[in-house]
């Protein structure tokens, strides 16, 4: 993992098309501007991690009998 120190107004380029700019540092918060092509998806880390965790939890384990109670629902 690469760890860099940047000051407000300074940038980091990731590859050729993505750049991060440190906009402001205030107390324990850092505001970051992300410039990336539209097809590059950008998510807050905790949201993306929660979706990954929920997808993994959603994989059906055990047999399908546990769903039998859903059969009557139309």
């Amino acid at each position: 993992m690469l760890v860099l120190t940047r000051k407000p107004g300074e940038k980091i380029f990731i590859g050729d098309n993505v750049s991060l700019t440190v906009v402001e540092v205030k107390g324990d918060s850092v505001r970051i501007a992300v410039d990336a092509p539209r097809e590059v998806k950008i998510y807050r880390g905790e949201i993306y991690e929660a979706i990954i965790a929920e997808n993994k939890a959603a994989v059906i384990a055990g047999d399908m009998k546990q769903l039998d109670g859903l059969k009557k629902l139309k």
């Binding site: 929920e54 997808n55 399908m64």
Partner: protein, 156 residues
């Protein structure tokens, strides 16, 4: 095509049921092909089975059958890129998570699965809405369907 599955044994599914997820799913980046078919006839639930991984099976729920006012914004450019129109609207599913009992089952309202059934491509979107949860109870009032809303109350 024939698919080997852990939950159903070997099953035969028509090509029309195979959906391509070019980017995989969050947590499963290499899983790009799934068979998507109803759990039972007219059921609000569907099964999404990986074509390549017999163990990877999801239960999906039609969110609009449970949450009449569920909504999220589809990026305009995505709608164009995907060829959605009033004649070919996006189909939306939510991923269900089984718990010890059906009453405790939840759905992930923050990461709906959107499918274009004409081109048979799909993606799991991540939306931001503080009113929705990744673990929304599906049956807060017991395992049953709410009465369907009157036609006049139904949203567009």
């Amino acid at each position: 095509m024939n698919i080997k599955t852990t939950r159903f044994g070997e099953i035969e599914v028509p090509e029309e049921c195979i959906i391509l997820f070019a980017g995989g799913l969050p947590g499963f980046p290499g899983e790009t092909k799934f068979a998507l078919f109803p759990y039972e006839k007219e059921s609000p639930f569907s099964i999404m089975q990986s074509v390549t991984n017999p163990d990877l099976t999801f239960l999906l729920a039609d969110p609009y059958r449970f949450y009449n006012d569920y909504m999220f914004e589809l990026d305009d450019q995505m709608a164009i890129d995907w060829g959605f129109s009033t004649a070919n609207p996006p189909h939306v599913y939510t991923v269900a998570t089984l718990k010890d009992t059906l009453e405790q089952m939840t759905v992930n309202l923050l990461a709906p699965i959107v499918v274009n059934w004409v081109t048979r491509i799909g993606a799991q979107l991540i939306i931001e809405n503080k009113h929705y949860s990744v673990q929304q109870l599906l049956f807060p009032e017991g395992v049953k369907m709410k009465p369907a809303p009157k036609e006049t109350e139904r949203g567009g």
